[in-house]
């Protein structure tokens, strides 16, 4: 079967006159890790909620694992796992009880869930913690338990809303490793994030959402190749203005953010050459990444 795991057409959602989702089309193939990127308020979480049938769209069609949403959202959700943006584990339960009770919402019998618990805890790096009280878990452990909980029904597709926000690097890398394992098992992942590094590492394809609209779509590499020059030089220090005038003649694109100049070019050799002898200027040379694409498309202004 070649049907999409998730297909969305012409999705629109309005709140108090403002269009939060303004005509979104998505097609996620089975087994893919698909990213939904965008600044705060871009409509990522709303899009996820619409796909799950938790809120009703004003316009548009959604098919989740072949089920029309919201009409058969319940049937779709039976084969879907969700890692929400904010952990909503049950603080009154132990690790194991959280899994058993959550499985109950899927109509799973206790015995079925009990049998799955060791492998779920193993996967989440929580082996031996089955009877731990929730208050004794670190933030990273809670996040992993949320992931284990989302797998309790052995879903075909997982929605993850900012799965690693607030985690330290160790915890984040462990989550990334687990998500790769899940794609290897053939599960489809749909994740929202504003960590470009995360999207670049994990996603086979992604869209960048801004003000409810898709402003770019493609693989991370393709997006970088299409939207930004290959190399970046970040320069700051006293006298930056004077040097900036020269830089503009040497690089096809120069952007200023506060006191720092971002120079984008396929070859930054001449720029580095021109910095020779300018001891007060500090520079960083790096290859362009997804964050450059993101900032180019959505701007450098703060979003609150």
């Amino acid at each position: 079967m070649s049907a999409a795991a998730l297909a969305v057409r012409g999705l629109r959602k309005r709140y108090a006159g403002a269009e939060v989702v303004a005509g979104v089309d998505l097609e996620v193939a089975p087994g893919e890790c698909f990213g939904l990127l965008g600044p705060n308020g871009a409509g990522k979480t709303t899009t996820l909620k619409l796909c799950l049938g938790l809120i009703d769209a004003d316009e548009g069609e959604i098919a989740l694992l072949g089920e029309p949403v919201p009409r058969r959202a319940r049937e779709a959700r039976a084969r879907v796992g969700v890692v929400p943006q904010f952990d909503n584990l049950d603080p009154d339960f132990t690790v194991k009880e959280n899994l058993v009770v959550f499985g109950g919402y899927f109509g799973l019998h206790d015995a079925e869930i009990q049998a799955r618990i060791p492998s779920l805890l193993e996967f989440a790096g929580l082996a031996g913690r089955a009877d731990a009280r929730l208050q004794t878990l670190s933030g990273g452990m809670k996040r992993r338990l949320t992931l284990a909980r989302a797998l309790v029904n052995d879903p075909k597709l997982l929605f993850m809303d900012e799965p690693t926000t607030g985690l330290d690097p160790q915890a984040r890398h462990l989550i990334w490793e687990r998500l790769r394992q899940l794609t290897q098992q053939g599960k489809t992942l749909v994740l929202t994030t504003h960590f470009m590094e995360e999207a670049e590492r994990l996603c086979t394809r992604l869209v960048i959402l801004d003000r409810g609209r898709i402003v770019a779509a493609g693989s991370p590499r393709a997006l970088i190749a299409v939207h930004v020059e290959g190399q970046v030089l970040e320069v700051h220090g006293p006298g930056i203005e004077r040097w900036g005038e020269r830089a503009r003649t040497l690089a096809p694109r120069v952007e200023r953010a506060g006191e720092t100049l971002f120079c984008y070019a396929g070859d930054v050799g001449p720029l580095i050459e021109s910095l020779r002898g300018q001891r007060e200027l500090v520079y960083l040379h790096r290859p362009a990444n997804l964050e450059d694409v993101f900032l180019r498309l959505t701007g450098r202004d703060l979003r609150d």
Partner: protein, 249 residues
């Protein structure tokens, strides 16, 4: 029957905190009952042909049920809906908001039934219940629980925070307690106030519990049951509509 999974979740949490929860639900009405029942009873003598303690016991069995259903459907449900986001987690599973509200309704009514039944047990142990007919009070207690649990969930859907509930408690429930024949017979009220009293759900609960505890059953009680059932159904409908409006925007 999916709502049972929600009921069960609350049951499993409650089991962990059962003792303080039971004491919390019972201590207040029992202290009031014994204090007022024996204290005031000594001054008042007989009330409508029975002891004041027996009179008050019936009223408190009904009002303790009301409060148990109310507190669970206000404060506890609000914690699960708004603070802990337990409902959000449940809704990510193949459950709907209607399942969740139904599960919370059944749960709050169950807790109210347990609270009311414990009150009845204490009253019976002190010899103020006409067993076995007093067992017929249990379905009435359940009905009171269903009515006030549904009302509480409707209020919960409108709540902006825990403080919001004090309006409902002080402006609705406290006057209702005074007007529903818990402390004194309603026929002592002025006619105009009586008309209001007879619209209140607690009034109909007390009107059934009191004769049943005394061992008097009659078909005259059925209209009271009908009023409470109507309250329960309409309030549950309102709770579902208001909760959907709140969470499924």
């Amino acid at each position: 029957m999916r709502f049972i999974a929600v009921w069960r979740r609350n049951w499993l949490v409650w089991k962990k905190l059962a003792l303080p929860s039971i004491l919390g639900n019972l201590a207040d009405p029992l202290i009031m009952l014994f204090g007022l029942g024996y204290g005031l009873g000594a001054v008042l003598g007989k009330m409508n042909g029975s002891s004041y303690f027996a009179f008050l016991a019936a009223g408190f069995a009904a009002s303790a049920t009301m409060y148990a259903a109310t507190f669970e459907s206000l404060f506890s449900a609000f914690s699960r809906m708004h603070v802990q986001k337990t409902w959000d987690a449940i809704l990510n599973a193949p459950m709907t908001l209607d399942d969740v509200v139904a599960g919370e309704w059944a749960w709050a009514a169950s807790k109210a039934l347990a609270a009311g039944a414990c009150m009845l047990l204490v009253v019976a142990l002190f010899g103020y219940a006409s067993v076995p007919l007093a067992l017929a009070t249990l379905p009435v207690i359940l009905l009171i629980g269903l009515a006030f649990a549904a009302l509480g969930l409707a209020i919960n859907a409108l709540a902006t925070g825990y403080d919001f509930f004090s309006y409902y408690l002080t402006l609705a429930l406290t006057p209702m307690m005074m007007l529903s024949g818990v402390f004194f017979p309603v026929d002592r009220l002025p006619a105009a106030v009586r008309v209001v009293a007879e619209l209140l759900p607690l009034y109909h609960g007390v009107a059934m519990v009191r004769p049943l505890l005394a061992g008097e059953a009659s078909a005259a009680l059925l209209p009271h049951a009908a009023v409470l059932a109507a309250y329960a159904m309409l309030a549950f409908y309102a709770a579902v509509v208001l909760t959907r409006r709140r969470l499924m925007r």
